[in-house]
């Protein structure tokens, strides 16, 4: 049977406001999932509940079929890496990493071998006898990673492990963490509010909003088919407006810009007259092909970004941002068309 963590219907209040309102998801063997959401969305609380540090008001955590409710933190064998690392300040690097192995009462020689091996893996073998307080942020991060991995936990939890680092270091460590997680084959839950991190590390994303899972899917699917305008906005897709369905087959939507032809969506149960939110994807702009969804636009700015152009424009009264492979010819007024395949609609319009 496959090892698997199941989180079922967690509820938790924080200062009398609901923080988690029925959160469920699973993690399978060898899989890395990312809990992604704004700060305060309860991501870290979910990790703490799984670890056993906090108790939910209701809901359960299962490892395989076993309910973890009455198993104390130190018997769960779930690894936890904290945002500011929580390295033991009175122990050196070696002692920090060895701590979990010592708790298993392994012979000293085995402990030494294992610690050396894992320190080599995180490229910290030279630092074995250093005081942890003398390490830089990135070095501390590596020690924390090694310490959490050393006892070979059944499940790994990482709570914003790169949150305190600067950008360059972050990018470098992101790749390393991804490699170590996949190589070890240990199922992992990675908590972050940073999209880029989540997309880099995760096999699957679990998006949290208002105490609930709003979408649970691989990164590509989430990006191409966001479930709601909240998800779209969270991902930075900002070309949003309201509309109304004129016909379902073929799909035509009335918008403040005019009527839009849209390719069939993954959204089911569309009916004529439904209010919808329309998302023009950033790559939906077609410069040469001007047969369908043609609108007069006013170009406000074009910014060269190296591999593409960022184009700011007004269609009617509305501001939009698109990315194109080449600059638009006119710098003022012209007509453009919008690709019907690159427009999403959501049934969550207010």
């Amino acid at each position: 049977m496959q090892n698997q963590l199941t989180v079922k219907n967690l509820f938790k209040k924080y200062e009398n406001k609901p923080l988690l309102a029925g959160v469920s998801f699973t993690v399978k063997e060898g899989e890395t999932i990312c809990l992604l959401g704004r700060s305060g969305s309860g991501k870290s609380t979910i990790l703490r509940i799984i670890a056993g540090i906090e108790q939910p008001e209701s809901g359960e955590v299962f490892w395989n079929q076993q309910n973890m409710k009455d198993i104390p933190v130190h018997q769960r064998n779930f690894g936890f890496m904290f945002q500011d690392y929580a390295l033991f300040p009175h122990m050196n690097v070696f002692e920090n990493v060895a701590f979990g192995l010592r708790m298993q009462n392994l012979p000293a020689e085995t402990i030494r071998e294992k610690v050396d091996a894992i320190l080599r893996k995180v490229k910290m073998e030279q630092f074995s006898h250093r005081n942890v307080q003398d390490l830089s942020g990135g070095e501390q991060q590596r020690v924390a990673l090694a310490r959490a991995f050393a006892p070979e936990p059944k499940l790994m939890m990482l709570d914003e492990p790169l949150g305190a680092l600067d950008r360059t270091l972050k990018e470098q460590l992101m790749d390393e963490i991804r490699f170590i997680l996949h190589e070890s084959n240990i199922p992992a839950i990675y908590v972050t509010h940073d999209q880029e991190e989540a997309f880099t590390i995760a096999d699957r994303l679990v998006l949290l909003h208002d105490g609930q899972v709003v979408q649970d899917a691989p990164p590509e699917e989430i990006y191409l088919y966001p479930h709601s305008s909240w998800v779209a906005e969270f991902l930075g897709l900002s070309n949003l407006m309201v509309g109304k369905i004129l016909s379902v087959e073929p799909l035509w939507v009335e918008t403040p810009l005019g009527n839009l032809k849209i390719e069939r969506q993954k959204v089911n149960r569309l009916q004529t007259g439904d209010s919808v939110t329309v998302l023009l994807r950033p790559d939906s702009l077609m410069i040469d092909d001007k047969e369908i969804n043609v609108f007069p636009v006013k170009i406000k700015d074009q910014i060269y970004l190296g591999d593409q152009w960022k184009v700011k424009m007004m269609i009617g009264q509305y501001d939009f941002i698109f990315y194109t492979s080449a600059a638009l010819k006119s710098t003022n007024f012209q007509h453009v068309s919008l690709n019907p395949k690159k427009i999403n609609i959501f049934l969550d319009a207010k």
């Binding site: 130190h74 708790m103 006892p151």
Partner: protein
């Protein structure tokens, strides 16, 4: 002409800032060296073996009582520190305020409080007597080691609690979780993570508490009675009763040596502590009380602390306003209790058999008068010193540790030094009462500096530059810009200095003339005399002092300057 004016200004400024140095040199170091001279006489000129025989008992006893008191303090303080660092419960802020009270409550008040609670005329004895119809007090705790220990625990558990719970609340709870998630059961987390990380704070608290117990004076004198003599009490006895000044000097030197060693140890430990712990918001760590075990712990701990800190003070208050009349009714002695302000009224009368040549209320006026002078001296010199230290130049680096020296010098040593040096007119202890506020200010200045300096440091210099670009002179920009902003610290410092002066006992015993008693001196004299009226007046006087000090502490807490945590 302009150049000359500048020169005069510069010289004036130099003398202004030299004032704290000169003051310390004249009023602190001069007496201190006189004390050393006496110690030298006692060891070299007279035979050291004779001296040693006279002082070895007080030295042994000092260590014995200080160690016992420290252990007891730890036993009470440790669980209390744990509770304050870890739990959120109803009435916690009240408990916190309560814990600051003993910190500044004068020793005479505490002694009087314990007397009112446990003494032979105290409430518990009165209660036991009426319950079991006894004709004498069954509980004889006054003038025993027990009374001394109890008062020391009252005083110092607050120090212990503050230091240890402070460090504890800085301890990242994630370390605990990390250890658990690595497979460590809770008891191992305690042994391997929590205790090792708290170790510097615990040691530091133990040293501080030991130091305070070691230099305790009024508690031993007032609660221990004539049987017990510590180094401090022996200095007092040798100097003022037996007039053996060399021996008193020797004791002072020994005393000073030990305090110095302990202070240096403590400084090293607090240094380690600040390196080890990263500051964080204590609110993250506190948890609500859960389960019957935790409830039982928090409730009984609260009861114990409130009992320890509140009962003596309440006993004092009630003892001062309730008159007890004993009547013989059908062969049985019965006590009648009634509310009365007679003890307070007595304070205004100048009776023939009174202990003083003046009505007792004069002691209150004296104390107020000395208090205000102390505040004046301490604020002026403390401000100048804080300024010098804030500039962080060569002078500041010398002044900073030097200023703290009077704190490590016991009040009795200070008093002895004054008696040794200031024995010729015009500066003569017997004719110049202003030496009392001078001694008080030496104790108060370090506190004033510790309050003012952080305020001065945190003051944005840009505001001064801005006001000067708009044409304000440096004097005016101090007075109109800087002072209003840091005045909160000034008020706090003034209150602190005032409270110290009101309660100071050790040095004052050496300096106060019979006709110029201060409140603590008057209380001491009342307590050492027999008779219900004297006892009642001691209670009334102590209550007045207690109320003054409580108001000060409350205001200082409200002003939220960082001093109480620092001492």
């Amino acid at each position: 002409m302009n150049k000359f004016k500048k020169f005069v200004q510069l010289v004036g400024l130099f003398f202004l800032f030299a004032l704290p140095f000169l003051y310390l040199l004249f009023f602190y170091f001069q007496p201190l060296f006189a004390t050393f001279e006496m110690a030298f006489q006692a060891t070299v000129i007279e035979k050291i073996s004779t001296s040693w025989n006279l002082i070895k008992r007080p030295i042994y006893f000092t260590f014995w009582q200080a160690s016992l008191s420290t252990i007891l303090t730890g036993i009470i303080g440790f669980p209390a520190a744990f509770m304050l660092a870890k739990f959120r419960f109803w009435g916690k802020s009240f408990l916190r305020l309560l814990i600051t009270i003993p910190f500044i409550m004068p020793t005479v008040v505490v002694a009087a409080g314990f007397n009112a609670l446990l003494g032979s005329k105290g409430w518990i004895n009165l209660l036991l007597q009426s319950l079991f119809s006894l004709d004498h007090a069954p509980l004889q705790i006054m003038n025993t080691l027990g009374a001394i220990l109890l008062a020391h625990v009252f005083y110092n558990s607050t120090v212990f609690i503050r230091v240890v719970s402070g460090a504890w609340s800085q301890l990242d709870p994630k370390l605990d979780y990390a250890a658990q998630s690595l497979g460590s059961p809770p008891w191992k987390v305690w042994l391997q993570i929590t205790l090792p990380l708290l170790k510097p704070a615990i040691f530091s608290a133990i040293i501080l508490v030991f130091l305070f117990n070691f230099t305790s004076f009024a508690v031993i004198l007032l609660l221990g009675g004539p049987k017990f003599s510590t180094i401090e009490v022996e200095i007092y006895v040798q100097a003022l009763q037996l007039f053996n000044l060399p021996l008193a000097g020797l004791l002072s030197a020994i005393q000073l040596l030990f305090t110095l060693v302990l202070s240096i140890l403590n400084m090293r430990l607090t240094h380690i502590k600040t390196v080890q712990l990263t500051p964080r918001n204590p609110d993250v760590i506190v948890q609500p009380v859960r389960g019957w075990k935790q409830h039982l712990f928090v409730i009984s701990m609260n009861a114990l602390l409130i009992g320890l800190f509140v009962l003596p003070l309440l006993a004092l208050l009630f003892r001062s306003v309730i008159l007890i009349e004993t009547k013989l009714v059908s062969q049985e002695i019965t006590n009648y209790y009634r509310f009365s302000l007679i003890y307070y009224q007595e304070l205004f009368l100048n009776r023939r058999q009174s202990l003083f040549y003046v009505p007792p209320v004069a002691a209150i006026l004296n104390s107020l008068y000395f208090g205000f002078i102390t505040v004046g001296i301490a604020l002026l010199l403390g401000f100048l010193a804080a300024r010098i230290i804030s500039i962080r130049n060569f002078l500041g680096k010398i002044l900073d540790p030097v200023l703290m020296l009077p704190l490590g010098t016991s009040a009795v040593t200070l008093g002895l030094g004054f008696v040794l040096v200031f024995n010729k007119p015009p500066l003569e202890v017997n004719t110049f009462p202003l030496l009392i506020p001078v001694a008080h200010s030496l104790v108060a200045i370090p506190f004033v500096v510790r309050i003012l300096q952080p305020a001065l440091l945190s003051f944005p210099k840009e505001l001064i530059f801005a006001s000067q670009t708009m044409g304000a002179s440096s004097w005016r920009s101090f007075w109109r810009i800087e002072f209003p902003i840091i005045s909160r610290a000034f008020i706090s410092a003034a209150l602190f200095a005032f409270t110290i002066s009101m309660g100071e006992f050790g040095a004052t015993t050496f300096l106060a003339r019979p006709e110029y008693p201060t409140i603590p001196i008057a209380i001491y004299r009342y307590l050492s005399q027999p008779g219900g009226l004297n006892y009642g007046q001691a209670m009334a006087m102590s209550t007045i002092l207690m109320i003054i000090c409580t108001l000060s502490i409350y205001s200082i807490e409200k002003l939220k300057t960082p001093v109480i945590n620092e001492f």
